[in-house]
Subunit: 180 residues, 2 copies
C-alpha cells in the first residue's frame, strides 16, 4: 500500500500512537489502514465413500488436484462460501455441511475453514477454474499430485476419521515448509 | 475505497471480467482490490470454575462486559491472537488453548474463532481497553450487561457444556437482530 484508499495521499508505514506494530497510516487524513488474515472456505464433498476433487486449471499449482475452496466473500457465511466454491469449481450442490477443520497458515496470513458435505444427487461437473473433476476413493487419490499441504492433511484425516466412524472438529497449524 | 492503494488513481466499482460481483478496480493500473471478512479471535479463560471477563473501556458498548477478543493480526495463528488479546485486555496468560466455537456474523463481515483456555497462576489484571476485569461464576455473570450477542451465546454454551463435562467444537451463525 502506497496511497490512501480514502483520500489518495501518500501513506506512511509507522507505529500509530497506542499501537505496538507498524501500520499503513495516511499522511493527510490520519486514517489507519489495517491488513488482516483472509479466510479460505472449502468442502470435502463425499458421495458413496468417494471424495469430489478438482484438477486445477489455474496457477498456482496448475494441473494439481485440490478440494473445492476459495476466498470467503463479504456478506456470506463460511458454509455459504464453501458451498459456493463447490458450485463454482465442481458444478456440484453441497448439502448437509458440517464444520470439520480449522487451519491456521500464518506465514501467508490465511485461515482455512473446511466443511464435510454431501453432493445433491451425486451430480458434479467441471467449473471454469478446473481441468477436470472426479469422485475419488481413498485408493484413487493422487497423493503425489496434490496442490497444497492443507489438501493432503485434510484427506488423510478425513479417511482416517471415516474408518473410525467419527468426525471430531479439529484445529491445526500449517507452517512454512523448510527450504530444501 | 476511492483511490488505488498501489498507484493513487481513482478506482471504479464494477464487475471485473470473469467475476460475478462488483469490486474496486483501478481505472489506471487495473488492479482489483478485494475486500473480505475479518477474523475476530478470543478466549473463554477459566480458572477454578469461573470465567475471566472484562468491562469495556472503549466504544462500541463502553461499560458492558465482554470476553477477551479482537482482530486477528497477520503472521499469527488464531490461538496466538486469542492469547494476545487475553494478555492485552485482561493482563492474563492464556494456557492450554482448545478450539471451542466458530461463529459467522455475515452482516458485519466477521468470523469469530474462540478458544477455551486456562489462566497461568490464576493471575489477571486490567488492560488499557478495560475498566475492570474479574473472574465470574455462572451466577455472577452480568447477563443484562453483556456487550455482544456472541458473548451471551458463548457463555450460555460454555456453562451448559461445563455441566455436561464435554466441550464439542461447534459452529453457528449470528444474524442481524430484527429492528424493534
Amino acid at each position: 500500500m502506497k496511497f490512501c484508499p480514502e483520500c489518495g495521499n501518500h501513506v506512511a508505514y509507522t507505529v500509530p500512537p497506542g499501537d505496538d506494530r507498524e501500520r499503513h497510516v495516511c499522511s493527510q487524513c490520519d486514517v489507519i489502514h489495517y491488513h488482516n488474515p483472509k479466510v479460505i472456505v472449502g468442502c470435502i464433498p463425499e458421495h458413496e465413500g468417494r471424495v469430489l476433487m478438482c484438477k486445477r486449471a489455474i496457477e498456482p499449482r496448475y494441473g494439481y488436484w485440490t478440494l473445492p475452496a476459495g476466498f470467503m466473500e463479504n456478506q456470506e457465511t463460511s458454509a455459504e462460501g464453501a458451498a459456493r466454491e463447490t458450485r463454482e469449481e465442481a458444478a456440484a450442490e453441497a448439502t448437509e455441511l458440517a464444520l470439520y477443520r480449522v487451519f491456521d497458515v500464518p506465514h501467508i496470513n490465511q485461515v482455512y475453514i473446511f466443511y464435510r458435505c454431501g453432493i445433491v444427487n451425486g451430480q458434479y461437473g467441471v467449473g471454469p477454474e478446473s481441468l477436470e473433476s472426479d469422485l475419488l476413493s481413498e485408493q484413487q487419490i493422487p497423493w503425489d499430485e496434490l496442490a497444497f499441504p492443507v489438501v493432503r492433511e485434510l484427506l488423510q484425516a478425513f479417511f482416517k476419521d471415516r474408518h473410525e466412524g467419527t468426525f471430531p472438529v479439529r484445529h491445526s497449524i500449517i507452517r512454512r515448509p523448510p527450504r530444501a
